[in-house]
Symmetry: C2
Subunit: 453 residues, 2 copies
Amino acid sequence: MTTKKFLLQEKDIPTAWYNIAADMENKPRPILNPATKEPVSEEELYPLFARELARQELNRTEAWIEIPCEVRDLYKVWRPTPLVRALGLEKALDTPAHIYFKNESVSPVGSHKLNSSLAQAYYCKKEGVTHVTTETGAGQWGAAMAYAAKAFGLELAVYMVKVSYHQKPYRRSIMQTFGAQVIASPSMSTKAGRKILTEQPNYQGSLGTAISEAVELAIQTPNCKYTLGSVLNHVMLHQTVIGLEAEKQMEMAGEYPEVVIGCFGGGSNFSGISFPFLRHRLKGGKALRIVAAEPESCPKLTRGQFQYDFGDEAGYTPLIPMFTLGHGFAPAHIHAGGLRYHGAGAIVSQLRKDGLVEAVDIPQLETFDAATLFARTEGIIPAPESSHAIAAALREAEQAKLEGKPRVILFNLSGHGLIDMAAYDQYFAGDLGNHRLSDEDIRKNLGELEQIL
Amino acid sequence: MTTKKFLLQEKDIPTAWYNIAADMENKPRPILNPATKEPVSEEELYPLFARELARQELNRTEAWIEIPCEVRDLYKVWRPTPLVRALGLEKALDTPAHIYFKNESVSPVGSHKLNSSLAQAYYCKKEGVTHVTTETGAGQWGAAMAYAAKAFGLELAVYMVKVSYHQKPYRRSIMQTFGAQVIASPSMSTKAGRKILTEQPNYQGSLGTAISEAVELAIQTPNCKYTLGSVLNHVMLHQTVIGLEAEKQMEMAGEYPEVVIGCFGGGSNFSGISFPFLRHRLKGGKALRIVAAEPESCPKLTRGQFQYDFGDEAGYTPLIPMFTLGHGFAPAHIHAGGLRYHGAGAIVSQLRKDGLVEAVDIPQLETFDAATLFARTEGIIPAPESSHAIAAALREAEQAKLEGKPRVILFNLSGHGLIDMAAYDQYFAGDLGNHRLSDEDIRKNLGELEQIL
């Protein structure tokens, strides 16, 4: 557990978020109104999102968006987060690679999700919104949104994917302690929930279904907006504080990453750590590889199709250009609940299509092997989601060792796993399995997609 | 959740621990060999503790003990910890008091306990020890010792109080993830455990019993030492890094505390935050009040007797001069498992006797009320133990409001409660009660004590 930390001062917290869409040669395709197949306007997004968030969602011209003082002040509660050279891990691996991780687990709710929830709650409050809804998988986003809603005095209802509601009862309790309402999804409280429960009474939920329920409630509640923890462009935007800090910290370490890795669900932490580095490559600057680490049970970037698809299961959202497994896809019940989502956000999908982003899919057991080694050498028990990034980093370090060459690896430790210990218990007991998605299941789900692209 | 943080640099981590015994006019009474009633020598402690720890335990002359580089390097993983002005809490209370807290919850295991476990593991390793044993209540100490044992390559067996083993399964999992053996206490693996299980088959354990089991295993295992998370002088010593940092940080804030508060089990975090401030008062310097916050179910400092007593239930330890409820006392099953201990350490007990330390006992429900308010205003969910300090701070702030005068309050947030969410669930469901210890129960337990003082 010999680690080396690179620490910034409060004044080094970024003052602006980085909007990669402004620098992309091939812009992300527009999101479409499903009825007209026409691009959605800012105004059409107002019923769902705060106006400023709708503006940010469609902004393809300004590379830098100023962070409001009120949000930056709250970032100071835990930011800047440490960058750590994982010397203990390197030693255990006996690798010539240098492994760094950005430690986003130090936030009060234990993950990076607060970077966006505070921004979303701030804009809602500023525009007079009183109620917000959202969905959550493992509960990292829900906990962060509950914290942010309390900070800005908003009432919050969270639809939590049912399998996680039972797997991770402590995250439900955390949300409730911060004053949020938590409902297991699918629920009887929405049309979308009732429909799927009628068709499949034992359905254990997915992020897609939970989003449908949260959207439905937001639209039907006065003075209420919907908030989302990933997938959307404005969420990626807010998360870039991670990579912007990491860039300065790598400079302090006197190295530049050859590969930057994030686990991948909808793209929030992955984009946050990687976009600020990628911007130099987009401008012809330093080359580096960007790797998204997916579960092999939910491999949209590695094995999905680039196509317009809904962001939710019921089809309430606009059509998003995404690498997708189909919005009706119900992922296996892996413990990395935050990665159980059928599609990738529009920006990452475009970058993937253009060959600027790589992806690997990783079996569940490999992620827990990696997590346990990391805990025992670096002293931090990682979230099952983040363990995908660790596993991918270990593969890179192993490759460096095989080649007998150094390699500078940076990954994002998006969150800690202290609330996920039941998963570790099952792992140690030998009760966890892998859940590779079959080609047949992929074909089946994609077959139902309308072909627009 | 508007907070103001006071941050130190790595170079500000103390280079020496503060040994208050050197500055006390009335030294703590010696610990005694129960057979001879003679003071225990350093050598007599060697079978139990690493030699340097035995030396520290009896040291009454040197006020400053240098922190070994190897320990200080590991402190750097999370230290210095923040001092926070709780502006959100002050606002909610509408109090003229200024409330500060030292945030020890940011350590990788979520509490202050790592300050001593790393030191103890270091000295054991340095002296060639290969195996260590310990006990734990709620699991904060056990998790910290598991981390430290892994950091220094020691094998660890932890006896965890049975009621906590079931109340806090995630802390057990954390210890196991770090590679420790965890046994619910009382167990059949020791004579002490078998005896109490024979007499009371459904006994749910106490720290006193768990200590007996850990001591017994240590003595019977080759090359093995026992480690303890509280009560002993050398543990208090290691914890003084908390107060030494806080002193510098209060200076940054431009204020000096009028009252310093810590929750109280055996005394580790309480001593850590308060002794460095108390040293000025001992030398005739600045006046301030020091308050220990106890559960009303386990009120040794408020309602116990100052007397020689065993540190454990079976009577394996030397006799310690302590405020005690009797070593056979089985505390109620409150969620603050770390405070369920019958006695106070020798130094705090002497300070209490000399009127240098105050104590308050607090009902369980008041601590959860305080914890919930703290979570919703400061964004950190506190451990049930730490919530006793918060509740005591709220009483002080309320008093300041009644008097219409400012008051500078400092308390130690010893740990977060993310692993204690089941307790919060019970609280919100109305399933928690108070467990005030009756005078009769106190008399009964104390009646069995041999009167030496």
